[in-house]
Subunit: 301 residues, 2 copies
């Protein structure tokens, strides 16, 4: 069965009863799993991690919007985190048995649905965006709820769906689709921070490196070594093995060895398979050949 | 949840109603999944592929023995495949969330149970064997049903459980635990069969190579290249990456390149993770970090 991850960020991190009620309304949706709820009172924001198929998302996400719009009033909302909507941002992430194109279609369908049901302006972002100026969340959200009416009046800032002016209490929402992030670090057998920084500069997109790599060089003071600390934002197009091999090659230039690497948090199984296939020069290998996948896929029998 | 694979081989490949009844009796066991049933009339033998946890196996396998012993009479059984029991051989294979030690314990418990319930001699084999002379199935089964009474009368051939003489119609059974096999081939960018054969000789256990590798060199006539064709019988102890790197190194000696490799059939996810960890020098990585595993493990929430 297809698995889509969805990580709505809502502008409520203080009233636990509101957060619980919204999470419970999602738990009641068939096929929807609430994997995690993290609330931050300082940010006054909660991050929900959901998993399910397209049907669960189509049914569940509008329910979340309904509850959040009824409970959250941005005219009196304060918090450290930038926000412009009651449900501030909602990314759909393809995990298993689902394509990015399907997640983009899902994002657009949900956006259209909540815009018309709740008279709410919705902006599409990341892979669902059709406008390069409105691809990054930060660009869309700049000015926040307080600056939203003025921003939406400017050329180029009509929403993708819904009315041309903000919802009076719920602002506007950002909905889209993106790949899962991989937090990936490579430790170097040296204490030379300049080397880690030069390598980070060489490999990250912003300074001319690989398209889907964000990187910085940092010291690991307690171990007396340095680290190239990275976010890989699309492992299909910029795979783990290529990042590792390029860092290793750049380090050689300075006479430095790669000590080890680490994946922080979660990684899709496909990202691991991709690297095995490259190193072992595997031809004609498919995910169906992974024993566990086969055992699971036959579970209906 | 733990997943154990079990692949009982039964001495019936012709009477479809008997095979169906035995498979159905397994399907009725809670937690037991019947993934595959392959029958061969010439061999007069069926291979069942089952998956489940230890409780499902403990409940289900004796049910299979009960039905097979009632239905199968080896005194009138003919077929091309060697056999000595109604349920001829029953391996338990650790797949996910279960150790080999647990599969060995399960094999012994099931062996003791069916031996006492059905007055059946049972021999333990592979990782469950406590006797190096009785580790390989072929050694235990040599002489087959027809030679069983004479064989069991010899020193060293008392069964691990059950009576010292064969069951009159069901013979004796072999039960044990083993690792999943990986069929792994490496293609060389040459048509020199002697090179493939020299490499196979170098890397396989039987001629001094790696402990859990069986290998031979064969020509791929239609492609004009040669292949080192292998079975890896314990990927935990003799991992994919080590086999690949050793073959690559041996090939270099002859000025030959590795063209590609292939996995035929199924491979445990752990075997792939192991190779990614080695090549990327990953430290502190665990299966829990694979996104799909996390999504599945939280399904109860």
């Amino acid at each position: 069965m297809a698995v889509i991850e969805c990580v709505p960020n809502i502008s409520e991190g203080r009233r636990q009863e509101v957060i619980d009620r919204l999470a419970d309304s999602l738990r009641a949706v068939p096929g929807m799993r609430v994997l995690d709820v993290q609330s931050d009172a300082t940010h006054n924001r909660s991050v929900l991690t959901l998993a399910g198929d397209a049907a669960a998302m189509t049914a569940g996400i509008p329910t979340l919007f309904e509850g959040a719009i009824a409970a959250i009033d941005l005219t009196s909302h304060t918090g450290a985190h930038p926000r412009m909507g009651a449900v501030d941002v909602t990314p759909f992430i393809p995990i298993d048995g689902v394509t990015m194109a399907e997640c983009v279609a899902l994002a657009k369908a949900v956006a259209q649905d909540v815009a018309s049901r709740f008279n709410l302006p919705v902006f599409l972002y990341e892979d669902a965006s059709s406008n390069p100026e409105r691809k990054n969340l930060e660009d869309i959200r700049r000015g926040e709820f307080e600056g939203l009416a003025a921003k939406m009046a400017k050329p180029g800032w009509a929403p993708d769906f819904g009315p041309a002016t903000p919802h009076p209490t719920a602002g506007a929402s950002v909905i889209g689709a993106r790949m899962p992030l991989i937090a990936y670090n490579i430790n170097l057998a040296t204490n030379r921070l300049d080397v880690a920084r030069k390598i980070a500069t060489a490999i990250r997109m912003s300074s001319g490196g690989l398209r889907y790599v964000k990187a910085m060089g940092i010291p690991l003071e307690d171990r007396g070594i340095v680290q190239v600390s990275m976010n890989l934002t699309n492992y299909e197009k910029t795979p783990l093995f290529r990042v590792f091999e390029l860092v290793k090659r750049e380090a050689e230039r300075y006479g430095v060895s790669v000590l080890e690497s680490e994946i922080v948090g979660l990684v899709p199984a496909a990202a691991l398979r991709q690297s095995v296939e490259w190193y072992l020069r595997l031809e004609g290998f498919s995910a169906d050949q992974v024993l566990e996948n086969k055992l699971r896929s036959r579970s209906a029998e």
